[in-house]
Symmetry: C2
Subunit: 206 residues, 2 copies
DNA sequence: CCTAGACTCAAACGATTGTTTGAAACGCGA
DNA sequence: TCGCGTTTCAAACAATCGTTTGAGTCTAGG
């Protein structure tokens, strides 16, 4: 099924698809553009992934499997050490995403793709993400419920809903804030994570 | 240039385009789907709007002209009455959008389209919106700067960036919160606006 | 060396894309 | 009623879409 050279084609398609989906959307990026950017043959997509829809899902799977694991790992460590607070739990959610977007050349590419997925209000994609990675949000929601016992269930879910929105939007770098010249991408994103935790913790606590 | 019957075709195209853009994105919704939903001839789009790109811009213009006006109107009234606070200024920004999404059958349709526009990171659309409606955000930013004099410029812009993200995402109803059965669309959205103001004010103040 | 399976490739499939065309239908002022 | 500008219409344009095909190349195992 897989060989040594398979790394190349499969992985390059996923990388090119990720970037083009971020830039032009799922419908807006064609397989010809993807395969041209990846420098592979057009038919390679259907050979390795079966269809465009499967390719889209695989773009998410490649990142979200590890991202989800790291988030829950940090959350568990926090609870085990007994120093869970709004700030540390938010950090457990944000920092893995921050690292993911820092160890890649493009920066926040995948986070932008993820934000695009939220816009697909009804569709296979939302179902796919909810079915496969919904448990992560559920676990974090439970942690927040423990930290905010004074809020009733409705109140809590409203605030978490808004918090997820703020995180998604900010991590995707959709905002108007430009990186200051001389400031590195790393510094910029680390500052954003810091502000994001501060802002969101205050909103949840309010 | 315009006649009594022109209301029909032009306006029905805009309405159908708005709904299909919200549901499938700009690239994902074809002109044939739009004209079929609007029950007009395919060529009517290019006759009335010139091109698909122009149609997209017009979908925004139709709503944003009035929305921007109402937002600034409320903001000015607040400042004139001398009772500007974080909550009231946020209300001046949110309530007109709330009303817009309530007086239409589809609900939050246009707000979803607007959120899609933010995902088009580089493109004519971001430039178009920034050029034509950027002054609204600028005026509100100035109002917030007056209300938060203890924050330096950088700190303020970070927080506003995150706040805009939370507002955009929440108004587009991208979240996981489902309307409770028996609860009207109106009640649901009014509750959301209330929580949004509370959350965001706390985040800005933190 | 030879063969079987994994992989790549150019080419083509029918369907769909945005846009254009020219003629038909409409509606109002003269 | 006539005529003219506005609007609608079916049809077609070239281009591009996702997908399939079948022959080709490559490489590891016997």
């Amino acid at each position: 099924m897989q060989q040594s050279t398979q790394f190349s084609t499969r992985q390059r398609i996923l990388g090119a698809a990720e970037e083009l989906f971020a830039e032009r959307g799922f419908a807006g990026a064609s397989l010809r553009q993807v395969t041209a950017a990846a420098k592979v043959n057009l038919a390679a997509v259907n050979y390795h992934f079966g269809s465009k829809d499967n390719l889209i899902e695989e773009v998410f799977r490649r990142r979200l499997d590890e991202l989800s694991h790291r988030r829950l790992e940090r959350l568990a460590a926090l609870e085990a050490a007994g120093n869970a607070s709004l700030e540390t739990v938010l950090d457990a959610f944000i920092t893995p995403a921050l690292e993911l977007s820092l160890d890649r050349k493009g920066g926040s590419v995948f986070m932008r793709v993820l934000a695009r997925a939220f816009a697909e209000h009804n569709g296979n994609l939302r179902t796919f993400l909810s079915d496969n990675y919904g448990y992560v949000l559920k676990d974090f929601a439970a942690a927040f419920a423990r930290l905010l016992p004074q809020l009733d269930k409705d109140e809590l879910y409203w605030r978490l809903d808004i918090a997820v929105g703020a995180l998604t939007y900010a991590m995707a770098d959709f905002g108007m804030i430009q990186r200051r010249s001389g400031e590195s991408e790393r510094t910029h994103r680390e500052q954003m994570a810091r502000h994001l935790i501060h802002f969101t913790a205050a909103g949840l606590r309010a």
